[in-house]
């Protein structure tokens, strides 16, 4: 655990990355790219049980605990949302449950994504975060 990055560290890295983008197109291209690169979720977990309700696209999150840390995998049938899944996994994966539950995650506002995503529940980001925190709460 020498090189362990905290959630805050990772958030800061993302803030630094996003600060290089000048246009909304660049932000979305980054997310789309993240979405394309995200490892596909094991089809065994692409079931109703792991599906997050209330999103216009389908979103699945699977989580498990290993060595005191919570690990996430996820997927979506929409590529931008898949990118958001990837983004949240980047930030929250392999962290202690307590850290995940308590993370304020204000980087989302700082990187200016919230102003680009419609506020409606359909974007799924809020629901996704809620699910990841709930899973962490249960596993922790």
């Amino acid at each position: 655990m020498t090189n362990h990055k905290t959630i805050k560290n990772i958030e800061q890295e993302l803030i630094d990355d996003f600060s290089l983008f000048e246009t909304w197109e660049e932000k979305y291209e980054y997310l789309i790219d993240l979405g394309k690169k995200l490892a596909p979720l094991d089809p065994a977990f692409k079931t109703e049980d792991y599906k997050i309700k209330g999103c216009q696209s389908s979103v699945w999150i699977h989580s498990h605990e290993k060595d005191g840390l919570v690990h996430f995998a996820g997927d979506s049938d929409a590529i931008i949302v898949r990118g958001l899944v990837g983004l949240m996994i980047t930030v929250l994966n392999a962290q202690p449950a307590k850290e995940i539950v308590n993370a304020p995650l204000d980087f989302i506002d700082t990187i200016g994504l919230s102003s680009h995503l419609a506020q409606t529940r359909s974007n799924g980001l809020r629901a996704m975060i809620k699910q990841m925190k709930m899973d962490a709460g249960v596993l922790g």
Binding site: A78, H116, L117, A118
Partner: protein, 410 residues
């Protein structure tokens, strides 16, 4: 614009304050008119004028304000009567919207006249608002809900409908124009056939009322329902047209003030039509402003607006078809200015997000027609729907933005 003849779309746009706003730094391109239309300044002014000059409760007060409010409210009812070609204002009931109008009929008519084993027929194209109320009443009365199938283009299978009709058919509730695809259903024929079996027919006019000339007497329907907010009027007000004898035979939907003639603890007698179905203080302001929406349409002329919208539809259809991998769902001749489409390998939500960032408002998803999407084997579509104030230039913006979005996604 030569293709548009004398249609002065800029003058029309000038009547809609919202159209000059920016979204994410870009000019708003509003193409979600099938969800709700924007409001002309006359509608907004009617609301302000009512609240600033003659706000009062109606039908009961004897003072000047109450008189003015009552007269204006009832003038709206007369405007609606003409708008749908009814023969009497007694047949025009104000509701909250299409949804409440359908629920009113399903409850007041359904609970009184449906019996175990009776059949209610709807179509595969229905909005949830014309499915769920019937499921609820069917469950309660042990009636059976049957669904007219469609082909892959969304066209109703009329032969299947004919074979469904029978002595058990009691009610047929059909959408006039599909909100998801824009297809115009052959409601005249449906009504004629259903009436051969003495079934009662409701037409969901949420989408047709703004585009098509409506004459409920020529159509021959028993009920016609629509929402004010889709015809340039305010939200929170809708209409139920009902044939007088049917409305008279139905019990009230809700009890309270306005709908009574005389109340004793032992017994209450109900008010006459249309007040029998308007319990409580109605949505006075929005009902009044609805007339301004109707006047807006009538001043330009529905046929004139329709011609403009058809030009837009034709232009947009041709342009969109040039986009590789794009497939229009419900690409039929008989439709209103709605284009629903899917693009191979692209989720509609991704498109909506990227279009929104370019100032374009379209609708994506299942459009409250999940069974239809299921039938068509798609998760949803992207839908652009045009109104009186949309322009050819806006369609060019849409097409360009679509191409850009697809390049980012694929």
């Amino acid at each position: 614009m030569e293709t548009e003849g004398t249609y002065d779309v800029q003058a029309i746009r000038a009547q809609f304050p919202i159209l000059s706003r920016k979204v994410k730094g870009k000019d708003l391109v509003y193409l979600d008119n099938a969800a709700t239309a924007q409001k002309p300044v006359a509608v907004i002014d009617a609301l302000v004028h009512y609240y600033s000059h003659y706000n009062a409760n109606i039908h009961r007060g004897l003072h000047t304000l109450a008189d003015e409010a009552t007269a204006t409210y009832e003038a709206s009812r007369a405007a609606v009567m003409h708008f749908v070609g009814a023969s009497s204002t007694d047949e025009i009931i104000f509701t909250k919207g299409t949804t409440e109008s359908i629920n009113l009929v399903a409850n007041a008519w359904g609970k009184s006249f449906l019996q175990e084993g009776d059949e209610i027929i709807i179509t595969s194209l229905e909005h949830h608002a014309n499915i769920v109320p019937w499921q609820m009443v069917a469950a309660e009365k042990k009636a059976i809900l049957r669904v007219i199938p469609i082909d892959d283009n969304g066209i109703l299978d009329m032969e299947a409908f004919k074979s469904m009709l029978g002595p058990k058919t009691k009610f047929v509730s059909v959408v006039h124009v599909s909100n998801a695809l824009g297809i115009i259903n052959p409601v005249e024929e449906i009504i004629r056939l259903a009436h051969e079996y003495n079934a009662v027919v409701l037409v969901d006019g949420a989408q047709s009322s703004v585009h098509l000339d409506i004459d409920v007497q020529t159509l021959g329907c028993d009920f016609y329902v629509f929402s004010g907010h889709k015809i340039y009027g305010p939200t929170g007000v809708g209409v139920l047209y009902g044939r007088r004898d049917l409305l008279e035979s139905m019990p009230p939907y809700q009890g309270g003030g306005e709908m009574i003639k005389e109340v004793r603890f032992e017994h209450t007698t109900y008010n006459e039509l249309p007040f029998k179905f308007e319990a409580g203080t109605p949505n006075i302001a929005d009902v009044i402003a609805l007339k301004a929406g109707i006047d807006f349409i009538n001043t330009i002329g529905k046929a004139v607006i329709r011609k403009h919208e058809e030009t837009l539809l034709e232009y947009a259809t041709a342009k969109l078809k040039n986009i590789k991998g794009l497939r229009i769902i419900g690409d039929v001749k008989n439709k209103v200015s709605v284009i629903s489409f899917v693009v191979d390998g692209v989720h509609p939500q991704d498109l909506a997000i990227l279009l929104d960032n370019q100032g374009i408002a379209v609708r994506t998803g299942h459009h409250c027609t999940q069974p239809l999407m299921h039938r068509l084997g798609i998760v949803g579509t992207t839908r652009a729907s045009f109104a009186a104030y949309n322009t050819i230039e806006e369609i060019d913006v849409l097409v360009e933005a679509l191409n850009k979005s697809l390049k980012m996604l694929l």
